[in-house]
Structure formats: structure tokens, C-alpha cells
């Protein structure tokens, strides 16, 4: 049994540095999403929480705390962990439960708070998402792991530093129009080029920030909500894939096989061609990741995404807008909130809530979210009723 599932409510706080705890922020955005959807809290059948680094706040098992704060302590919950793709994995589980008929409504909440840690400690937390004995123990940080992808991509396809920079400049410009974004100011190419090298060839402005943040989604069975108060996102595809966990054991260094598989599955599920996608949110934890994602999903040929970005094709008013929210790069990357927040952006675009960052067309949109260096990936495709 499968039935049509919608995202009927979506909310996010402003990413950056949160004063309040993760559970408080998660509960607030969850309540906002529930109220926006017009769903009674008691109608939530299951709460799927993403909070990979909750332990950094000395708090695990946060689902019951959120449900209690929402006045629905009897609702079951669980925490889904898939590194940076945790909340897109949680959305996938909510979709499976609702489309499969187990529940008529489910809540997805992603939250992370790391800003109280120093940079070295936060970097170490991120490194736990890689293979600690066989990657991190050899000195790799996450910027370092993605830097080797960039190194191989530049060597094989001639990708240029300025092409990476064009991703950063575009996404910072988009973020400057997004009240949810961590960074609210645009940057120039000179600012990018003059920023310090973190892990060659990646500079400071190639890297996403450590952000706190929370985002929530309400997923419902369409047949149970015949008169929605919002313009729902029809979940036309919810696909996940994995690949060999260690990057060095994969045959190809310039692409992520899990992204390739998840996108192929998603396009098959949705019966959508790539040319029909109006805009997308993709996983740009580093600038190179956006280029690789666009190539992995078949929107540009191998080695072609850098030039396309440089030429403005992926700008907000370009032929294929990518990351109108500012992406992980500039909107911010609160690990477990990121996947849900991509869907918040798509929801706001579909509902005329995007203000100055509105994209020209909003009929079909895609969200792509990666865990670690691509050992996990999620691709969701959304449409209109």
C-alpha cells in the first residue's frame, strides 16, 4: 500500500549561533510547522528526530523531550542518524510511514547545536562522521576529505579556483536575501580569493560554517487533508542510497556513487526528467560538493558544472537555480537540521514566502543531501498537486 504524501508545514529558525538549547529550538520550529500545517498535535503519529551531535549538549534521546514540550508525550519518537543527511533520512522514514499507511501525519525535526565548542573540538566531532580509524586517524578533517575530491577534480577536468569561487559568491548572494541564513552579506571574488587556505585547494570561503539551527516538517497523507491551508509539497520521490564508506576505497574520486544512485532512483520514482526540474537545493558543504552534486545527478557533464556556474546558469535568475537559500555554504550547516531546512526552502518557494530570493518557476524542485563524504545520500523530488 502506498498513498500520496505531502509536506504540509515547514519551519526553520535563523541559522548561526543559538542562545537556547537544541531541544528548545527544535520544539519551537516543530510547533511552528504544526501550526502552519493546520494539523492538531495529537494527530501526529510519529516524531522522527535528527540530532547527530546531541551528545555535544549532553543530551541524547531528545524525541520524547520535544514531544513532551509539544504536549504529545504519548507519541512515539526515535532519532535518525546519518551524519549530515540525518534529517533527509528522517524525512524518508516519515514518508515511508505515511505513504505506507502506518500513520496519517508524522513530524520531522532536525536540530544541532555546536557553537559552544571551539573550532578544533567541533572539527573533531565532524570527523567522527568519517571512518575514524582509517580516515580521520590518518589526519583527515572534513575540509581535507573534500579537498582531495577538489584536487582530483581539478587535476582530471581542469576545474579552476575561480569556478569554486563562483559557487561561493552565488550562494552568499542568495543567503543575503534569506532571513534564515547564517551569513547575511554577499562576498566578492576578491574576498574569496584572499581568504586563507584551510585545506588546499579549499579556502575559508569554500567551506560551510559551523552553524546551530533547527528545522521541522509535517508530512501527511493527502487523502486525510482534503482542504490544505498551505500549498503542499507533493513528495514525488524519496530515495536514499549508500556507497563504500571510505572515500579511498571507491574507484572514482571525482564523484559520489550514492548521489548518483539516489538521484537515478528518485527520477524513476517521480517520473520526472532532469529538464523538468525548476530549481534545487543541493549539498554544498564545500564549493566542490555543489559542482560534484550537479554532475553526479546528471544536470551537467563531468567537469562541466564549474563552467556552468561561472556563466550564471545556476544563479537564482539563471536557467537552473541552485541553492536559492544560500545552501549549506552560506545559509549554514547545522548538521542534522540541514536536510529538513532544504525542504523548508522549497516549501517557502512554493508558497510565495521566499521574498526577494524567489526563483522564476516552482513546479518541480529537488533536494539533495549527503552524509559524510557520500557514504549516504538522499534525493527528494517535490511537485504541486
Amino acid at each position: 500500500m502506498t498513498r500520496e504524501a505531502w509536506v504540509l508545514g515547514a519551519a526553520s529558525n535563523r541559522f548561526g549561533k543559538m542562545k537556547e538549547s537544541g531541544r528548545e529550538a527544535a520544539s519551537r520550529v516543530a510547533l511552528e510547522a504544526i501550526q502552519m500545517a493546520g494539523v492538531e498535535p495529537k494527530d501526529i503519529g510519529y516524531t522522527f528526530v535528527a540530532n547527530a551531535f546531541g551528545i555535544a549538549e549532553r543530551q541524547a534521546h531528545v524525541g520524547p523531550l520535544i514531544n513532551t514540550a509539544l504536549g504529545i508525550p504519548e507519541v512515539p519518537s526515535c532519532t535518525i542518524e546519518s551524519a549530515c543527511s540525518s534529517s533527509s533520512a528522517a524525512l524518508h522514514e516519515a514518508f515511508v510511514h505515511v505513504a505506507g499507511g502506518f500513520h496519517d501525519a508524522a513530524l520531522v525535526v532536525g536540530v544541532e547545536k555546536l557553537s559552544h565548542l571551539d573550532t578544533l573540538t567541533a572539527t573533531s566531532y565532524f570527523a567522527i562522521g568519517a571512518d575514524y580509524p582509517f580516515e580521520s586517524h590518518n589526519g583527515a578533517t572534513f575540509p581535507g576529505l573534500y579537498a582531495t575530491i577538489a584536487d582530483a577534480h581539478m587535476n582530471r577536468y581542469g576545474t579552476q579556483t575561480e569556478q569554486l569561487g563562483s559557487v561561493a559568491v552565488k550562494n552568499h548572494l542568495n543567503a543575503s536575501l534569506n532571513p534564515h541564513a547564517h551569513f547575511q552579506r554577499p562576498i566578492t571574488m576578491d574576498t574569496y580569493l584572499n581568504s586563507p587556505v584551510i585545506a588546499s585547494p579549499l579556502r575559508l570561503y569554500d567551506c560551510c560554517p559551523f552553524s546551530d539551527g533547527a528545522a521541522a516538517l509535517v508530512v501527511v497523507a493527502a487523502e486525510k487533508y482534503p482542504n490544505p491551508r498551505t500549498e503542499p509539497l507533493v513528495i514525488r520521490a524519496s530515495a536514499r542510497a549508500g556507497s563504500i564508506a571510505d572515500m579511498h576505497d571507491r574507484p572514482e574520486l571525482t564523484g559520489l556513487p550514492a548521489s548518483q544512485r539516489a538521484s537515478q532512483l528518485a527520477f524513476q520514482q517521480a517520473h520526472v526528467e532532469r529538464g523538468q526540474v525548476d530549481f534545487m537545493e543541493v549539498h554544498d558543504c564545500f564549493t566542490i560538493a555543489e559542482l560534484v552534486a550537479l554532475e553526479d545527478m546528471g544536470f551537467f557533464p563531468r567537469g562541466g558544472a564549474g563552467k556552468a556556474t561561472e556563466e550564471g546558469l545556476t544563479a537564482r535568475d539563471g536557467k537552473l537555480p541552485v541553492n536559492p537559500s544560500g545552501g549549506l555554504k552560506a545559509k549554514g550547516h547545522p548538521v542534522s537540521a540541514t536536510g529538513a531546512s532544504q525542504v523548508v526552502e522549497i516549501f517557502e518557494q512554493f508558497n510565495g514566502m521566499a521574498g526577494a530570493r524567489a526563483v522564476p518557476k516552482t513546479n518541480i524542485a529537488l533536494a539533495h543531501n549527503v552524509g559524510a563524504t557520500g557514504s549516504s545520500a538522499s534525493v527528494h523530488i517535490f511537485g504541486r498537486r
Binding site: T119, L120, T121, T123, S124, A127, D131, P133, F134, E135, S136, H137, N138, G139, A140, T141, P143, G144, L145, A147, T148, I149, A150, D151, A152, M154, N155, T161, P196, V197, I198, A199, S200, P201, L202, I244, D246, M247, H248, D249, L253
Partner: protein
């Protein structure tokens, strides 16, 4: 009947006998790099029970030469926590002569111009954590970026 456990004739999976700790012990104490070769030809220096490429369990253990060429690298100015006193250093991916790829680090590579993709390197045993490589004597270093 209580207290009696049936026995089954399970296939022996040779790689199941090995632990992650043994890999690290190999780097530091035995001065050897453990590797596994699958029936499909896949070579890995990462712990596992079955081949990640073909799924078969007949992984054969052997000692890796530790010799190969640089497939990709980065010079990290911001270190991992265990390497905080070693930055800058290179994190490297090495294509091994016998096939397969391994990750490691190179403390002597402190700038992009100190190494190039394609340079020959070899593993050196070290008391420091991880798999440490050095450039072969006479290996070229053409600044590429």
C-alpha cells in the same frame, strides 16, 4: 532443552578473525601494512568481513608493499585533533603498486609545491598515529596549483 546450544556448520570467513586494532598494531609494532585481496581482485587496507565490491567473503590477507603514487592530496593548515602539533601536513590518497588505494599523511609535505599527483611515495613505520608516507628519493614535485 535448557542450556544446550545447537551447533551449525557455518562457512569459515577468514577475514572475520581480524580486528581494527590489529591494523593499527601492524602500523606501529609489526612494521607492516595489512591488506586484503578479494576474489574479484579488489584490494583494500580497510577492515571488513566481506569484499565491499563483490560481497564475497574469501578475502586473502597479505602484506602491502606500502609503495605507490599520489592519487590526490591536500595540505591541511587546520589539523585533525590528533595532529594539532603537526600542521601543516598533507593528507594523501595513494594508489598502491599492487592495486587498491590507501589513505595516509605526510608530515614533511608542508606546502602545495612539496608534492604532486603522480609522485612516487612509500610507507614509513612511525610511532605517530596513522599511516605515514614519505616521498621517494628523486621523486618529482612539480607545483601544480
Amino acid at each position: 532443552m535448557s542450556g544446550v546450544h545447537p551447533t551449525h556448520a557455518l562457512p569459515v570467513e577468514p577475514s572475520a578473525a581480524h580486528s581494527i586494532q590489529e591494523f593499527e598494531h601492524g602500523y606501529e609494532e609489526e612494521q607492516r601494512l595489512r591488506g586484503f585481496r578479494s576474489a574479484c581482485g579488489f584490494v583494500t587496507a580497510t577492515w571488513g568481513l566481506r569484499c565491499p565490491r563483490c560481497g564475497q567473503f574469501d578475502l586473502k590477507e597479505f602484506s602491502l608493499s606500502g609503495k605507490g603514487v599520489v592519487a590526490a592530496y591536500t595540505v591541511q593548515n587546520v589539523p585533525a585533533d590528533e595532529f594539532v602539533n603537526d600542521a601543516p601536513y598533507a593528507y594523501v590518497l595513494i594508489d598502491l603498486d599492487e592495486g587498491g588505494r590507501i589513505s595516509g599523511w605526510m608530515p614533511t609535505v608542508r606546502a602545495v609545491g612539496d608534492l604532486s599527483i603522480g609522485d612516487r611515495v612509500h610507507w614509513v613505520a612511525s610511532y605517530k598515529p596513522g599511516v605515514q608516507f614519505e616521498k621517494d628519493a628523486g621523486a618529482s614535485a612539480t607545483p601544480g596549483r
